[in-house]
Protein backbone atom coordinates (compact mmCIF):
# COMPACT_ATOMS: atom_id res chain seq x y z
CA UNK A 1 0.00 0.00 0.00
CA UNK A 2 1.72 3.14 -1.23
CA UNK A 3 1.84 6.02 1.18
CA UNK A 4 1.76 9.68 0.25
CA UNK A 5 4.19 10.52 -2.51
CA UNK A 6 5.46 13.91 -3.62
CA UNK A 7 7.46 15.12 -6.58
CA UNK A 8 9.96 16.47 -7.18
CA UNK A 9 12.17 15.87 -4.14
CA UNK A 10 14.18 19.02 -4.62
CA UNK A 11 13.69 22.07 -6.78
CA UNK A 12 15.69 25.24 -7.38
CA UNK A 13 13.95 28.25 -8.89
CA UNK A 14 14.74 31.91 -9.49
CA UNK A 15 12.80 34.81 -8.01
CA UNK A 16 9.79 35.70 -10.09
CA UNK A 17 9.41 32.24 -11.58
CA UNK A 18 6.49 29.89 -11.10
CA UNK A 19 6.59 26.38 -9.64
CA UNK A 20 4.28 23.38 -9.50
CA UNK A 21 4.57 20.70 -6.84
CA UNK A 22 2.73 17.40 -7.01
CA UNK A 23 1.22 15.04 -4.47
CA UNK A 24 -0.41 11.62 -4.66
CA UNK A 25 -2.42 10.73 -1.58
CA UNK A 26 -2.36 7.47 0.30
CA UNK A 27 -4.54 4.85 -1.36
CA UNK A 28 -8.18 5.36 -0.41
CA UNK A 29 -7.74 8.91 0.84
CA UNK A 30 -9.78 11.71 -0.69
CA UNK A 31 -8.57 14.83 1.11
CA UNK A 32 -5.24 16.54 0.53
CA UNK A 33 -3.72 19.29 2.66
CA UNK A 34 -0.61 21.32 1.90
CA UNK A 35 1.78 22.76 4.47
CA UNK A 36 4.81 25.02 4.23
CA UNK A 37 7.67 24.32 6.62
CA UNK A 38 10.31 27.03 6.74
CA UNK A 39 13.73 26.10 8.12
CA UNK A 40 13.58 25.67 11.89
CA UNK A 41 9.82 26.15 12.03
CA UNK A 42 6.76 24.00 12.34
CA UNK A 43 4.59 23.36 9.28
CA UNK A 44 2.05 26.03 8.42
CA UNK A 45 -1.26 25.17 6.78
CA UNK A 46 -1.63 26.49 3.23
CA UNK A 47 -4.91 24.94 2.07
CA UNK A 48 -6.94 21.78 1.84
CA UNK A 49 -8.68 20.13 -1.10
CA UNK A 50 -11.66 17.82 -1.07
CA UNK A 51 -13.81 16.76 -4.03
CA UNK A 52 -11.66 18.93 -6.29
CA UNK A 53 -12.47 22.09 -4.37
CA UNK A 54 -10.48 24.21 -1.94
CA UNK A 55 -12.22 23.65 1.37
CA UNK A 56 -10.04 25.62 3.76
CA UNK A 57 -7.25 28.11 3.34
CA UNK A 58 -4.56 29.36 5.68
CA UNK A 59 -2.99 32.79 5.76
CA UNK A 60 -1.18 32.61 2.42
CA UNK A 61 -1.38 35.07 -0.49
CA UNK A 62 -3.18 34.36 -3.74
CA UNK A 63 0.18 33.55 -5.34
CA UNK A 64 -0.36 30.14 -3.76
CA UNK A 65 -2.99 28.14 -5.59
CA UNK A 66 -3.85 24.52 -5.93
CA UNK A 67 -5.80 21.92 -7.72
CA UNK A 68 -7.16 18.47 -7.02
CA UNK A 69 -7.79 15.97 -9.77
CA UNK A 70 -10.54 13.33 -10.03
CA UNK A 71 -8.04 10.67 -8.86
CA UNK A 72 -7.51 12.78 -5.68
CA UNK A 73 -3.95 13.75 -6.53
CA UNK A 74 -3.13 17.39 -6.07
CA UNK A 75 -0.87 20.18 -7.25
CA UNK A 76 0.41 23.23 -5.45
CA UNK A 77 1.30 26.20 -7.64
CA UNK A 78 3.27 29.21 -6.51
CA UNK A 79 3.57 32.23 -8.79
CA UNK A 80 6.03 35.14 -8.68
CA UNK A 81 8.38 33.31 -6.35
CA UNK A 82 10.02 35.23 -3.52
CA UNK A 83 13.13 34.32 -1.57
CA UNK A 84 10.86 33.79 1.43
CA UNK A 85 9.05 30.98 -0.37
CA UNK A 86 12.10 28.78 0.14
CA UNK A 87 10.86 25.96 2.36
CA UNK A 88 9.91 22.32 2.62
CA UNK A 89 6.43 21.81 1.21
CA UNK A 90 4.54 18.95 2.78
CA UNK A 91 1.47 17.21 1.48
CA UNK A 92 -0.80 15.25 3.80
CA UNK A 93 -3.77 13.07 2.97
CA UNK A 94 -6.70 11.87 5.02
CA UNK A 95 -10.14 10.24 4.79
CA UNK A 96 -12.92 11.66 6.98
CA UNK A 97 -10.46 11.74 9.81
CA UNK A 98 -8.22 13.91 11.87
CA UNK A 99 -5.39 11.48 11.13
CA UNK A 100 -3.25 12.94 8.38
CA UNK A 101 -0.53 11.00 6.63
CA UNK A 102 2.38 13.08 5.41
CA UNK A 103 4.58 12.72 2.37
CA UNK A 104 8.35 13.20 2.39
CA UNK A 105 8.06 16.77 1.13
CA UNK A 106 9.52 18.86 -1.66
CA UNK A 107 12.45 21.10 -0.79
CA UNK A 108 12.07 24.36 -2.76
CA UNK A 109 14.99 26.76 -2.93
CA UNK A 110 14.44 30.20 -4.46
CA UNK A 111 17.56 32.09 -5.51
Amino acid sequence: DAGVTQSPTHLIKTRGQQVTLRCSPKSGHDTVSWYQQALGQGPQFIFQYYEEEERQRGNFPDRFSGHQFPNYSSELNVNALLLGDSALYLCASSLFSYEQYFGPGTRLTVT
Binding site: F45, Y50, Y98, F102
Partner: protein, 116 residues
Amino acid sequence: AQTVTQSQPEMSVQEAETVTLSCTYDTSESDYYLFWYKQPPSRQMILVIRQEAYKQQNATENRFSVNFQKAAKSFSLKISDSQLGDAAMYFCAYAKSGGSNYKLTFGKGTLLTVNP
Protein backbone atom coordinates in the same frame (compact mmCIF):
# COMPACT_ATOMS: atom_id res chain seq x y z
CA ALA B 1 -6.89 31.86 16.55
CA GLN B 2 -5.40 28.73 17.97
CA THR B 3 -1.74 28.72 18.87
CA VAL B 4 0.64 25.97 19.93
CA THR B 5 3.80 26.73 21.89
CA GLN B 6 6.77 24.45 22.43
CA SER B 7 9.14 26.18 24.82
CA GLN B 8 12.04 23.73 24.47
CA PRO B 9 13.87 24.19 21.16
CA GLU B 10 16.24 21.33 22.02
CA MET B 11 16.33 18.46 24.47
CA SER B 12 18.74 15.62 25.00
CA VAL B 13 18.41 12.29 26.78
CA GLN B 14 20.61 9.30 27.49
CA GLU B 15 19.67 6.06 25.86
CA ALA B 16 17.25 4.03 28.05
CA GLU B 17 16.33 7.12 30.09
CA THR B 18 13.05 9.02 30.15
CA VAL B 19 12.45 12.45 28.68
CA THR B 20 9.45 14.78 28.68
CA LEU B 21 8.70 17.31 25.96
CA SER B 22 6.44 20.23 26.79
CA CYS B 23 3.61 21.80 24.83
CA THR B 24 1.01 24.41 25.65
CA TYR B 25 -1.82 25.58 23.44
CA ASP B 26 -4.44 28.24 23.34
CA THR B 27 -7.97 27.73 22.10
CA SER B 28 -11.48 28.81 22.90
CA GLU B 29 -12.90 25.52 21.65
CA SER B 30 -14.01 22.80 24.02
CA ASP B 31 -13.70 19.89 21.63
CA TYR B 32 -10.45 19.30 19.79
CA TYR B 33 -7.60 16.90 19.15
CA LEU B 34 -3.97 17.15 20.15
CA PHE B 35 -1.12 15.31 18.50
CA TRP B 36 2.57 14.66 18.73
CA TYR B 37 4.32 14.18 15.41
CA LYS B 38 7.87 12.97 14.89
CA GLN B 39 9.97 14.19 11.98
CA PRO B 40 13.22 12.22 11.63
CA PRO B 41 16.10 13.61 9.58
CA SER B 42 14.62 11.88 6.51
CA ARG B 43 11.80 14.41 6.82
CA GLN B 44 8.65 12.27 6.68
CA MET B 45 6.30 13.33 9.45
CA ILE B 46 4.92 10.43 11.49
CA LEU B 47 2.07 10.51 13.98
CA VAL B 48 3.32 9.39 17.39
CA ILE B 49 0.26 9.77 19.58
CA ARG B 50 -3.07 11.59 19.70
CA GLN B 51 -5.41 12.75 22.43
CA GLU B 52 -9.09 13.61 22.16
CA ALA B 53 -9.91 16.56 24.41
CA TYR B 54 -13.14 14.97 25.67
CA LYS B 55 -11.22 11.99 27.06
CA GLN B 56 -9.87 12.39 30.57
CA GLN B 57 -7.60 9.38 30.30
CA ASN B 58 -4.14 10.13 29.00
CA ALA B 59 -3.22 8.41 25.74
CA THR B 60 -0.46 5.80 25.68
CA GLU B 61 1.30 4.14 22.77
CA ASN B 62 3.98 1.69 23.88
CA ARG B 63 6.88 3.80 25.22
CA PHE B 64 5.09 7.07 24.46
CA SER B 65 2.54 8.64 26.78
CA VAL B 66 1.04 12.06 27.27
CA ASN B 67 0.08 14.19 30.23
CA PHE B 68 -3.00 16.09 29.13
CA GLN B 69 -4.07 18.91 31.44
CA LYS B 70 -7.11 20.48 29.78
CA ALA B 71 -7.64 23.29 32.26
CA ALA B 72 -4.00 24.31 32.04
CA LYS B 73 -4.00 23.77 28.25
CA SER B 74 -0.91 21.66 28.58
CA PHE B 75 0.00 18.56 26.59
CA SER B 76 3.38 17.00 27.32
CA LEU B 77 4.94 13.92 25.75
CA LYS B 78 6.88 11.39 27.80
CA ILE B 79 9.24 9.00 26.07
CA SER B 80 10.32 6.10 28.25
CA ASP B 81 13.32 3.86 27.66
CA SER B 82 14.62 6.23 24.97
CA GLN B 83 16.18 4.64 21.92
CA LEU B 84 18.60 6.02 19.34
CA GLY B 85 15.81 5.86 16.78
CA ASP B 86 13.79 8.34 18.82
CA ALA B 87 16.16 11.12 17.81
CA ALA B 88 14.11 13.52 15.71
CA MET B 89 12.21 16.77 15.65
CA TYR B 90 8.99 16.50 17.62
CA PHE B 91 6.02 18.68 16.86
CA CYS B 92 2.97 19.27 18.98
CA ALA B 93 -0.16 19.94 16.92
CA TYR B 94 -3.78 20.94 17.44
CA ALA B 95 -6.89 20.35 15.36
CA LYS B 96 -10.36 21.64 16.06
CA SER B 97 -12.93 18.89 16.21
CA GLY B 98 -16.12 18.71 14.18
CA GLY B 99 -16.70 18.11 10.49
CA SER B 100 -14.15 16.34 8.36
CA ASN B 101 -11.85 19.16 7.32
CA TYR B 102 -9.16 18.94 9.96
CA LYS B 103 -6.49 21.62 9.74
CA LEU B 104 -3.41 21.08 11.88
CA THR B 105 -1.78 23.93 13.77
CA PHE B 106 1.79 23.08 14.75
CA GLY B 107 4.26 24.35 17.31
CA LYS B 108 7.82 25.21 16.32
CA GLY B 109 9.14 21.85 17.40
CA THR B 110 11.64 20.36 19.84
CA LEU B 111 14.80 18.73 18.55
CA LEU B 112 15.47 15.59 20.58
CA THR B 113 18.95 14.14 20.71
CA VAL B 114 19.50 10.66 22.15
CA ASN B 115 22.99 10.02 23.46
CA PRO B 116 24.37 6.45 23.53
